[in-house]
C-alpha cells in the first residue's frame, strides 16, 4: 500500500497522469464533438450538405464525413505515439527511483 502512496505522491507520476488525461479527454471530446456537430448539422443544413464539394459531384456532407474518418485515424496514430513516448519516460523515471 505504501508503494502505491509513494507513486501517487510522486510529482513525475502526477505530471504524466495529467498529461495523459489531457490527451485522453481532449482527443475524445474533439472527435465525438466533431461527429455530433456534423451529424446533427445535416438536419438543419441539408441543402448545403448535398451541394457539390469544390466543383466535383461528391457532396459536401459526405466529404466532411470522410474527413472525420481520416481525422480519427490520424489522431489515433498520434495518440499511440504520444502515450508510448510518455510511458517510456515513466519507466525511465521509475527505474531511477529504484
Amino acid at each position: 500500500m505504501s508503494d502505491e502512496a509513494d507513486i501517487l505522491s510522486d510529482p513525475e507520476f502526477q505530471r504524466i497522469l495529467t498529461l495523459r488525461s489531457r490527451w485522453r479527454w481532449g482527443l475524445s471530446g474533439l472527435l465525438i464533438g466533431a461527429y455530433l456537430i456534423w451529424a446533427v448539422g445535416g438536419i438543419y443544413y441539408s441543402a448545403a450538405y448535398a451541394a457539390p464539394f469544390m466543383g466535383i459531384a461528391l457532396p459536401w456532407g459526405m466529404a466532411v464525413g470522410l474527413v472525420i474518418i481520416a481525422l480519427s485515424i490520424v489522431l489515433s496514430i498520434a495518440y499511440v505515439r504520444i502515450v508510448n513516448r510518455l510511458e517510456a519516460e515513466e519507466i525511465v523515471e521509475r527505474d531511477k527511483h529504484q
Binding site: 507520476f13 495523459r20 482527443l27 475524445s28 448535398a50 459526405m62 502515450v83
Partner: protein, 519 residues
C-alpha cells in the same frame, strides 16, 4: 439469386477457408491447456495481429453487407453509421485501452470487480455479457442462415447447423488462439475482397470520384436528393441516440473488450487498437464509396433492381450483386464465400466471450469463489461453450423470421447502457460504489428493454400498433443517461460499509491502471 445453382468458386473458396480454419484449430488445440491460454491465448498475440482480429470482430456481415445496402437505400445518411463506427474505435483507444489492459486478466469483469464487491460485480458483468452476446449471436446466425440459403442453396436449418457446429469446434478445441487466427484470416480475406471490389467499382468510372457521384445522382429515383441528409432520421434526438449507441455500445461489447487481454501489455493493447482504427476507418470509407457505386451501377440493370427500385433478394445483397456485375462469376463466388467466413469468425468470438462470462466470472469466481483448479475451469468453459452454442442454435431456428436489426439494436444498446457506464465509472470515478454500479446496471437494462419494446421497431412493426409510444429507433440517449444518473446518485448517497472499501480502493487501482502489473 437469379436462378443460378451453387457457385463453384464460392464453394471451393469456402471449403478452403473451413479446411484452413480447422487446421488452425488443430494447431491451436495443442497450445491451449490453461485457462489463460483458453480465454486470452496466453497474452501472446502481437499488436498487429490483435489489431486485425479486433477490426475483424467489427467487420461483421452486418457492416459489410448491411451498410452497403444502407448506402444504397439511405444515401448520405448511411454515413451516420460509418463515421460513428470509426469514431467509436478511436474513443475506445483514448479512453479504455491502457487502463483496461492493466487492470484485467480475462474479461471486462476483472476490471469492474477490481476494487468493487467482486461477486456482485461479476454477476452483473456476466449478466451484461450474456444479454449482449445471446441476441448478437442469434442476429448473426439468423442473418447467416438466410444468406447461406440464398448463396449456397443450403436449407436454413442446415446453414444454422454448419455455422453452429464450426463455431463450437473453434472455441472448444482452439480457445482464443484459434478464434483469433480464424478472425485474422477472415479480416485479411475481407479487406482484400473489399479492396478489389472498390477498385473494380472505381474502374467503371475511370477512377473518377466526380463521375461516380454524378452517375449516382443522375440514376437515383430521388436524383441528387440521395445526397441530402435526413432521409433515415430527421431529428437531433434520434441522431444523437444513434451516435451514442455506437460510441458507448462498441466500448461495451464483451468480445471486443476481451481482446485487450490477448496481448502482452498495455502498449501492445494500445498499438493493436491503433491498427484497428486504421483498418476499420479505411473499410468504412470504402463501404460508403462501394454503396454509392452500387447506386450508379445497379439501378437501371433489370437483373438486380426491379421496376419499383427494390434490390433482388433484399438490401443485404447489394455488395453481392455488385461483385458479380463488376467481377464476374469467380469474383462473386469469392465475395460470397468471404461473407460466410466473416459470419463464422464473428460468432466464434462472441461465443467465447459468453462462455468466459459463464465459466470464469460466474462459475469459477462467484459459485466456487476462485477455489477451482485451472484444469477444471477449462473443462467448465468447454462445457459452457457447447451449451451456449446449442441454445443459440435452437433460438436461431425459433426466431428465423425475427427482424435481425432488432436483435442487433438490443445487443448494442445493452452494451452501451449496462456495460459501458459500469466500466467507465469504475475506471475514472473514485466515488463509484458497488451498490451504485448494480443499481445503474439494472436501470440501464430495464430502460433499454422497455424503450425498445415501445419503439417503432417493435411496438408498430412487430406488435401492429398504429403509433409508437417511444418515437425513436435507438433508446441509448435515454437509457445511457438513466444508467449514469442512477449509478451516480446511488453511489453518492451510499453510506454502507462496502462503499467505504470501494472508494478507498481507487488510489491503488489508479496506480495499477496507469503503470501495470509491476509497480
Amino acid at each position: 439469386m437469379t436462378g443460378t445453382g451453387p457457385n463453384i468458386t464460392a464453394i471451393a473458396v469456402f471449403v478452403a477457408f473451413v479446411s484452413l480454419s480447422l487446421f488452425i484449430t488443430w494447431w491451436a488445440s495443442k497450445k491451449t491447456h490453461s485457462a489463460g491460454e483458453f480465454y486470452t491465448a496466453g497474452g501472446k498475440i502481437t499488436g498487429f495481429q490483435n489489431g486485425l482480429a479486433l477490426a475483424g470482430d467489427f467487420m461483421s456481415a452486418a457492416t459489410f453487407l448491411g451498410l452497403t445496402g444502407l448506402a444504397f437505400i439511405g444515401g448520405a445518411d448511411a454515413m451516420l453509421y460509418t463515421v460513428a463506427i470509426t469514431v467509436s474505435w478511436a474513443f475506445i483507444l483514448f479512453a479504455f485501452a491502457d487502463r483496461m489492459r492493466n487492470l484485467g486478466r480475462y474479461t471486462f469483469a476483472d476490471v469492474v470487480a477490481y476494487r468493487l464487491h467482486p461477486e456482485r460485480m461479476r454477476v452483473l458483468a456476466a449478466a451484461g455479457t450474456l444479454t449482449v452476446a445471446i441476441p448478437y449471436l442469434i442476429a448473426q446466425m439468423v442473418g447467416a442462415g438466410s444468406l447461406i440459403e440464398t448463396l449456397f442453396n443450403i436449407p436454413y436449418l442446415g446453414a444454422v447447423m454448419i455455422v453452429g457446429t464450426l463455431m463450437t469446434i473453434y472455441v472448444v478445441f482452439g480457445g482464443m488462439l484459434a478464434t483469433t487466427w480464424v478472425q485474422v484470416t477472415k479480416a485479411v480475406l475481407l479487406l482484400a475482397g473489399g479492396t478489389v471490389l472498390l477498385v473494380l467499382v472505381f474502374a467503371r468510372f475511370g477512377f473518377s470520384i466526380d463521375t461516380l457521384f454524378e452517375r449516382a445522382g443522375d440514376l437515383h429515383p430521388r436524383g441528387r436528393g440521395v445526397f441530402l441528409p435526413g432521409v433515415l432520421y430527421d431529428d437531433p434526438i434520434s441522431i444523437i441516440s444513434l451516435g451514442l449507441a455506437f460510441i458507448c455500445g462498441t466500448a461495451g461489447l464483451p468480445h471486443v473488450l476481451m481482446r485487450f487481454f490477448t496481448v502482452p501489455d498495455a502498449q501492445q493493447a494500445r498499438n493493436s487498437i491503433g491498427y484497428a482504427v486504421g483498418i476499420i476507418g479505411y473499410f468504412q470509407a470504402a463501404i460508403m464509396i462501394v454503396g454509392i457505386g452500387a447506386i450508379a451501377l445497379l439501378i437501371g440493370d433489370g437483373e438486380y433492381v426491379d421496376e419499383a427500385g427494390r434490390i433482388t433478394g433484399g438490401a443485404n445483397m447489394v455488395s453481392i450483386h455488385l461483385s458479380r456485375l463488376v467481377g464476374g462469376e469467380v469474383f462473386f463466388g469469392l465475395i460470397a464465400a468471404v461473407a460466410f467466413a466473416t459470419i463464422l469468425a464473428v460468432v466464434a468470438g462472441i461465443l467465447l466471450s459468453a462462455s468466459a462470462a459463464v465459466a470464469h466470472d460466474f462459475y469459477a469466481r462467484v459459485i466456487r469463489k476462485g477455489d477451482i483448479s485451472d484444469d477444471a475451469e477449462v473443462k467448465v468453459s468447454r462445457f459452457a461453450t457447447v451449451v451456449i452454442a446449442g441454445v443459440a442454435m435452437g433460438l436461431s431456428v425459433l426466431f428465423q423470421n425475427v427482424n435481425v436489426a432488432i436483435l442487433s439494436t438490443i445487443a448494442l444498446a445493452v452494451a452501451a447502457s449496462v456495460n459501458f457506464p459500469a466500466i467507465f465509472l469504475a475506471l475514472f470515478w473514485s466515488g463509484l460504489t458497488t451498490r451504485g454500479a448494480v443499481a445503474g446496471g439494472v436501470t440501464g437494462l430495464v430502460v433499454v428493454v422497455a424503450l425498445i419494446i415501445l419503439s417503432p421497431t417493435v411496438w408498430v412493426n412487430v406488435l401492429g400498433n398504429a403509433n409508437a409510444v417511444f418515437p425513436y429507433a435507438y433508446p441509448t440517449l435515454f437509457s445511457v443517461a438513466a444508467a449514469f444518473a442512477v449509478t451516480i446518485t446511488v453511489s453518492l448517497t451510499d453510506r454502507s460499509e462496502r462503499a467505504t472499501t470501494d472508494r478507498a480502493g481507487f488510489p491503488a487501482q489508479l496506480v495499477r491502471s496507469e503503470i501495470g502489473e509491476k509497480p
